[in-house]
């Protein structure tokens, strides 16, 4: 410790010595004299925590868990969609900006168009799940003597899912193929996205295909042709080997 030491400005000013960043208003800003950089501005993703459902009601969650486990069934190659956390992933996504259609163009008028013109409904993904799950539950209840989707045998669950996919099943107020595509896409996202978002638990999706995950340096392997990459997958929050053993 030293009384003599602080003849320099603080660290913060060292970072911004060249910087004159002033605000005109709001977040808009005027930058001159050097890049407005500080390591404090970092924006890492937040780790999804296990815990109660944030978007789904209990019956919705059980339907989704059963469905993702048929879309990606457990087998000798590894866990299915449920164990891999796909339903948790979808729940957290729907509770967040994605569920609200944040950032999308949502101004009227809403008119049906050609396929090539893309999605044209005012419904957000969250609203589509609410309606889609309700319609599927009603269909299953009516068709399978009062049962829920989760109570159906696997073969019947598959039958419902492919009925939605092929438009063979008509749902009340919901286009089956559209909802099926949404559910399938989100399930695949959950299975293959970084585990930090709640799915791909234990990197099950990455292990299934042999994707090494959130790595950033393959210089040592680019010319090792025809040799499998030797290291296990790593997630943004690391892997087991990061923790000292013994």
């Amino acid at each position: 410790m030293s009384l003599l030491s602080p003849t320099r400005r603080t660290f913060l000013t060292a970072c911004t010595a060249m910087l004159m960043a002033t605000s005109t208003a709001g977040r808009a800003r005027t930058i001159s004299g050097g890049p407005p950089v500080s390591p404090d501005n970092t924006s890492p993703p937040e780790q999804v925590r296990l815990g109660p459902w944030q978007f789904f009601a209990a019956d919705e969650a059980s339907l989704v868990e059963a469905a993702v486990d048929r879309l990606i069934p457990p087998d000798e190659r590894g866990p299915g969609g449920k164990e891999a956390g796909c339903a948790v992933f979808i729940d957290r996504q729907l509770a967040g900006p994605y569920g609200r259609a944040a950032g999308l163009y949502t101004r009227p008028p809403f008119m049906p168009g050609a396929e090539t013109q893309g999605y044209q409904s005012p419904d957000s993904p969250a609203a589509r799940y609410r309606a889609g799950l309700k319609a599927i539950a009603a269909y299953v209840k009516a068709t399978y003597s009062g049962k829920t989707f989760a109570e159906l045998a696997a073969a019947d669950q598959d039958k419902v899912l492919s009925g939605l996919e092929t438009n063979a099943i008509k749902l009340d107020g919901v286009k089956g193929p559209d909802f099926f595509t949404l559910l399938l896409n989100n399930t695949m996202e959950g299975f293959f996205a970084d585990p930090i978002y709640g799915g791909n638990r234990d990197m099950a999706g990455w292990k299934l295909v042999g994707f090494p995950g959130a790595r950033y340096d393959y210089r040592d392997w680019v010319e090792r042709h025809n040799e499998p990459y030797p290291l296990p997958p790593v997630s943004i929050m690391g892997r087991a080997d990061w923790t000292t053993k013994g």
Partner: protein, 412 residues
Amino acid sequence: MTTATRTLLAASSAILILSGAAFGRDKQSFDQIGHGRYLTTLSDCAGCHTAPGGAPFAGGLPLQTPFGTLVAPNITPDTETGIGNWSDDDFVAAIRDGRGHNGVRLYPAMPYPAYTKMTRDDVLAIRAYLATVPPVRHNVVANQLPFPFNIRLVMLAWNWVNFTPGRYMPDPGKSAEWNRGAYIVQGPGHCGTCHTPKNLLGGDKSDQPLQGAVLQGWFAPNITADQHKGIGQWSKDDLAQYLKTGTNKWTLASGPMAEAVTHSTSQMTDADVTAIAAYLLDSGAGQSTKPAPVAADDPVMKAGAAIYKDACSACHKGDGSGESQLFPRLAGSSLVQSDDPTTLVRMVLHGSYAVATPAAPTGPGMPAFDWRLNDAQAAAVVTYIRNSWGNAAPPVSADTVSRSRAQLAKSP
């Protein structure tokens, strides 16, 4: 004044003409002002006495010292709030002896224990230059220390223990370049203010000059020619390039040194940075013995290796070689192997931006990892970096990381 410094004055005088204050002065005082302007840069007066974005030399930002807050005062020629009514002798006494106007004792945050080495001519040249800057009325309450440190007379006792007044005495056995370097390092450049370890009172441990010290949550590394803990592996050109541009093939300046580079060393003449290099690389420090590295099969090292591979190699490369002038080389780095891991730990947790200079404008950033690594993981990767590729240094504990994390959360 050396011939070299006279030559460079011609270059800086172009700007002086603009200041207006130089008009009408005779040739000698014109030269003196130019010389003073350069010495002001060499001594980095603005580093403390100019607040960022503030009027030049009108007073700095509050400096947090271990003993309390000090503010570098207004040294513009304003007669009321600056130093306009100081005599030359007042000025020389302040710079070289820490005795201010009317005998007020200065705190050694003002590096008079280094400036005492300067010649009277050089000090008066600074004085002459400062007399030409626009006077600014700005009252600075310099002393904001708590009792008992706010009693300036305390410094009398401090000086008795820690302060050795006296000019720099050239070593006739060394070259003019070496002596010039020694003069800058010990005098105006006040390198030891940061880089020399301090005793409990904050005075220099004069038997360990430039062997590295902690300040403001950074470790100012050993800059002696020690092969292991110092910069003995650097060539003269490497060091001169570092001072001039803020970077070289080994490393990049950041933290407090980034500021020293911006305000002072990057503006030095080529001859002066080369002279500093000549002196520092011949500073005759004892060669430390390298400890045995932590074994690669140590569980902490194995965890550290996995983290390094996954999180660090994209920039610093698998073999720790980094990238010249972009990503610091970790293999063989004395800073990495310092006994004190303060800088290394804060870099991993908090990140930092390297200095950008006209000659090396890149200014790359090291991102923060505090959100990604827990204390044990950060400790493991730091221990791994300190003990791989030929490096060897004591392991760093999770507790050390934890303390650093807490400190950074308080004052990044």
